[in-house]
């Protein structure tokens, strides 16, 4: 899409928002249709594919025995990575991770990690020698806005879907598992965009182009926040952040039901 057409589309988004509406008819705090698919890869310990409207994200989890960090010899660990595949958008390129994909993966990581939903001590195998590390790898398949929430929901879903491998005689027992990974909470990331003076949820690609700033918050079922992240060139007032938090408390409940 040419730059001119982009600008016209952005104008149209802004004008519609000023009229209190969105181009696709949603309310400001309304999400697009969320659908979840599992069993993307038998080779993965767990997978999930999340579609939010036309945004499409696949997450796979591999759980491998690693040497624990010297300062936490009895703890397992979590690694989250994201690839903005050039499949997903004409604006994505092959190559090393972009700052955008690094930011996304780190926000998803914090939302999960800081919710304390994983008891890393349970992932120990042998003190100082082996502990399980879960590699959560996020792949953008189609980018129509709000990759953050789609990626976060796919990540927690894939973790919930994951089988815990067995370890015997110094190695992994292929094809055998000891049940599912245990998660004590299901943090949900809810992102809003500031477009004009409105705070809207689950922005499309066209809406993101028109946004001045973005704010993401991860919410647990017991109504705690486990991560904040402001992004974008603009700013938020304190009351806009409060609106975003309230919206997230509400939306996270609905979204969690779909996992």
């Amino acid at each position: 899409m040419s730059s001119l057409i982009c600008d016209l589309r952005t104008d149209k988004v802004l004008q519609t928002i000023r009229e209190g509406k969105r181009l696709d008819g949603r309310k400001f705090d309304e999400y697009r249709k969320l659908s979840i698919e599992r069993n993307i890869s038998e080779n993965a310990e767990g997978t999930a594919r999340v579609r939010l409207g036309e945004t499409d994200v696949i997450v796979g989890v591999k759980i491998l025995p690693m040497t624990p960090f010297p300062d936490t010899p009895d703890d397992g660990s979590l690694s989250v990575g994201a690839e903005f595949l050039p499949i997903a958008s004409p604006t994505f390129e092959s190559g090393p991770p972009s700052p955008e994909s690094i930011e996304l993966s780190r926000v998803v990581d914090r939302g999960i990690r800081e919710s304390k939903c994983i008891d890393f001590a349970e992932w120990s195998i042998e003190s100082g020698k082996y502990a399980w590390n879960a590699f959560v790898d996020i792949y953008a398949i189609n980018h129509d806005g709000n990759l953050f929430d789609a990626a976060a929901i796919a990540s927690i879903t894939a973790l919930l879907d994951s089988k815990m491998p067995k370890f015997e005689d110094g190695k992994v027992v292929k094809g055998e598992f000891k049940g599912k990974v245990k998660l004590s909470r299901k943090p949900i990331l809810c992102t809003v965009s500031k477009i004009g003076n409105a705070i809207v949820s689950d922005a499309t690609f066209a809406e993101e182009r028109a946004q001045s700033a973005r704010f993401s918050v991860a919410v647990t079922e017991d109504e705690y926040f486990s991560a904040f992240q402001k992004g974008g060139l603009g700013s938020f007032t304190a009351s806009e952040i409060d609106t975003a938090l309230d919206t997230a408390l509400k939306n996270s409940k609905e979204l969690r039901k779909l996992i």
Binding site: E83, I141, K174
Partner: protein, 267 residues
Amino acid sequence: MATKKKEEKESKKESKSKENLEYVNKQGKRLDGRTVDETRPIKIKVGVVPNADGSAYLEWGQNKVIAAVYGPRECLPKHTANPYKAMVRYTYRMATFSVPDRKNPRPGRRDVEISKVSSEAFERAIFTEKFPNTAIDIYVEVLDSNAGTRIAALTTAAVAVADAGIPMRDMIAGVAVGKAGGNIIVDLNKYEEDAPDAVDIPIAILPNSEEIVLLQMDGLLSKKEWVEARTKAFAAIKKVHELQKQALLEKYKNFESTPSNDGSDKQ
């Protein structure tokens, strides 16, 4: 070095002593019930990535592949453009979770080689001279794997190129043929690829002219075995090609029900 060798081994794990095992039984059936000429089940869906100019998703046994095509579009950086034709840039990658061990997210030497020979295959298929100074980017991501991914990828990509409306001499279709336990068989699975005498021959052709556009082989193969393998391969590829055509027809049949593919709201 470890990295390099790991790659080589992606599909060669657990090649324990299987000398006693029978890869084809007296009834002519393989361990998964297939005949020697039979491929694993193949499903193809066209138009799965709304943003792309063309796309396809394929399941070939356990293999799962998604392909998207962007182009013809401006060739950047500009000094790489060719004033006489489009550059075809094919990128094969495997998701980290698509293999039994975790794949390193950075592209390895195997990825580079497969991307190179696949690019060359598409250079032959596409009428590149119609689009001077442009690039046609074909991206393929393997989501799950069990032997034969480069052919599964190429087969998916060919459908995506057709979906993008890019004119081709002919569609590319392929199969891997080879040997296990002394038998020439079509579409080896991982278990068969790990046979002590395994031979693996990925081959892709333009189905109508039978021009060979991709051909690789490893393992010990005689001339006679090659002729048998090639014959079986060509027959199997024609079936694969039928499935490609059906999938494309299917899309246009279901036109109304897949709004994301009608192009009206592409960005």
